[in-house]
């Protein structure tokens, strides 16, 4: 079993406009990027569970080969900066991804 944090160079979150939060995992090399795709590591069910949001609010998951990256985008719980906001830039919402592992099979 391999920890995601050992094979990823970037695990981050950020607003994509005021309505969306986008999560990026950039792998250190092509091997682990492809391994994550083979395992379907980042998928709507997982993101829904990790972030306690309905699956319909997981707006998309995109693999971007030029960067060895997989991205998931969710609907923000509230529009950026609305009353009750906790993270205006959305830059500290990545932590639930840190505990993921690959090669569990």
């Amino acid at each position: 079993m391999t920890r995601l944090i050992d094979v990823a160079s970037v695990i981050r979150s950020k607003n994509a406009g005021p309505y969306e939060l986008t999560l990026d995992v950039i792998f250190k090399d092509r091997f682990w990027y492809e391994q994550a795709l083979r395992e379907n590591l980042i998928n709507p069910v997982l993101i829904s569970r990790l972030y306690n949001v309905p699956e319909v609010d997981v707006l998309g998951i995109v693999a971007f080969e030029p960067a060895n990256a997989i991205k998931a985008t969710i609907r923000r719980p509230m529009v950026s900066g609305a009353i009750g906001e906790t993270d205006v830039y959305g830059a500290q919402q990545h932590a639930p991804l840190l505990a993921l592992t690959l090669g569990s099979a």
Partner: protein, 459 residues
């Protein structure tokens, strides 16, 4: 066959006012750039700055960066472009930036033609556009309502390169624009001179964050883009940083939900066929980026309005019993506050308890809410229709929580540790985004006309 010589665009810094090393800027000038351009803004810092008409960047820092850019641009006779002036790009932000430019021109004896391009939208035509179906929703947002337009303090459009090109064609040496689609200021001169729009915009998309797309990334260092008719090359102006395929491609992901399809004014960048190639140890070449015009030309609108007034109080808690019963205590305090001020309960006042150490950062998204630490930070926040009401709610919640009785309490002198006296802070007006929608425009250059003057004219 290529007939146009390569064109060089220098991006000194990710946001005007974030600074850059002078050595990097001079290294950029030594490569004889054809354009110096900078993105001065973002909606990232939230609705306050747009709504209040205030810059999130510092005036002295902005003036410092602009001085280098304007002096170099005028000495070399190359255009200088500034987009999203003053951070949010509304009229007060634009005026603030123009004032700084005029001060520099006066101090440095600069001469030349200055084009100023407001991107503010009047409310009456927007109401008409809403009625006619030309102001449309941007999913996953909600459709706009007339009140969203009426109550906004500032409404801006993210303009494309067309209004900038019109100003350059009229002879502008310096172009300063209100809210812009970030790549526009970098792409305008290349597109005007006949380089492919898709490549120019994709290069601009990377240059707008300057050296963030390098390793180690920095928002306060210079990046050069060199464009030909087939592709573009990115390189940093600081030998401590390099561009790699990963650093450049990774930046394409940044703040975007789909890196293959990047919508902007008038269409979208399609990167399905884009190639990223490491041409030497420090430079990356990008090819294959294509711009696909949309049916109808749309610009993105941004607006903000006042939603109330805020007061906050910051405190810490160290009692294990208090921490174990935090939810019950907060609920008890809330009940006590609105028992005393029932008139504020019916939606006119928000009382928010932020519990750092539990879910202060992630709120509803926090998966580990139940794991309580040995100390908690609490922010008591009130947002109400007036500052006085917010002060009252915050103050009453703070004093109630300080002395709130709970089962097993032994620290009877007070429940909260306050780092500050006074303990409460008036944060003033609170703004919310009121529009983030698309507007159809017939002629993007005519919709956002420039105003030409001389740099040396007094304000």
């Amino acid at each position: 066959m290529s007939t146009l010589p390569p064109i060089r665009v220098l991006s000194p810094t990710a946001i005007l006012g974030y600074g850059f090393p002078t050595a990097s800027f001079e290294a950029g000038l030594a490569l004889n750039p054809d354009v110096i351009a900078v993105d001065a803004g973002s909606s990232d810092p939230g609705p306050y700055y747009l709504g209040a008409g205030i810059s999130f960047t510092d005036r002295a820092a902005v003036k410092r960066d602009l001085r280098y850019m304007l002096v170099a641009g005028r000495a070399r006779g190359i255009p200088v472009l500034v987009g999203s002036a003053g951070g949010a790009g509304a009229r007060p932000h634009l005026d603030w930036t123009v004032q700084i430019i005029r001060e520099i021109a006066h101090e440095e004896g600069l001469k030349g033609r200055l084009a100023v391009i407001p991107s503010d939208m009047d409310k009456a035509p927007l109401m008409a556009a809403l009625a006619s179906g030309d102001l449309v929703v941007l999913p996953p947002g909600e459709p706009a309502m007339p009140a969203d337009i009426e109550r906004s303090t500032h409404i801006v459009a993210q303009i494309g390169e067309e209004p900038l090109i019109a100003a350059l064609q009229a002879g502008a040496d310096v172009v300063v624009a209100g809210r812009c689609y970030d790549p526009s200021v970098f792409a305008a001169v290349p597109i005007l001179r006949g380089y492919p729009r898709g490549l120019a915009l994709h290069m601009g998309k990377i240059l707008e964050c300057a050296a963030i797309a390098s390793i180690p990334g920095s928002g306060s260092d210079c990046m050069m883009g060199t464009l030909d008719e087939v592709g573009f090359v990115l390189e940093t102006m600081n030998s401590a940083r390099i561009c790699t395929v990963t650093s450049v491609a990774a930046h394409t992901l940044y703040e975007k939900s789909d890196p293959y399809h990047l919508p902007g004014p008038g269409g979208a960048l399609n990167l399905r066929m884009a190639g990223f190639e490491q041409i030497d140890a420090v430079r990356v070449r990008v090819t294959g980026s294509v711009f696909e015009p949309s049916e109808g030309y749309f610009v993105k609108l941004e607006a903000a309005r006042i939603v109330g007034y805020r007061t906050v109080s910051i405190a810490g808690v160290r009692s294990p019993d208090f921490i174990a019963q935090i939810d019950d205590i907060l609920a008890g305090v809330r009940t006590r506050v609105f028992d005393n001020f029932p008139e504020m309960q019916a939606g006119s006042a928000n009382l928010i308890f932020r519990v750092y150490g539990r879910d202060g950062v992630m709120g509803a998204l926090e998966p580990e809410r139940e794991r309580l630490p040995h100390e908690l930070g609490i922010i008591i926040e009130a947002v109400a229709d007036t500052q006085d009401q917010a002060n009252t709610i915050c103050s009453f919640a703070r004093s109630t929580m300080l002395h709130f009785g709970y089962p097993g309490r032994v620290s009877t002198a007070g429940n909260l540790a306050f780092p500050y006296s006074p303990s409460d802070f008036k944060a003033g007006a609170v703004y919310g985004f009121s529009l983030y929608h698309l507007l159809r425009v017939q002629d993007p250059a005519a919709a956002f006309p420039f105003h030409m003057s001389n740099l040396e004219d007094s304000a």
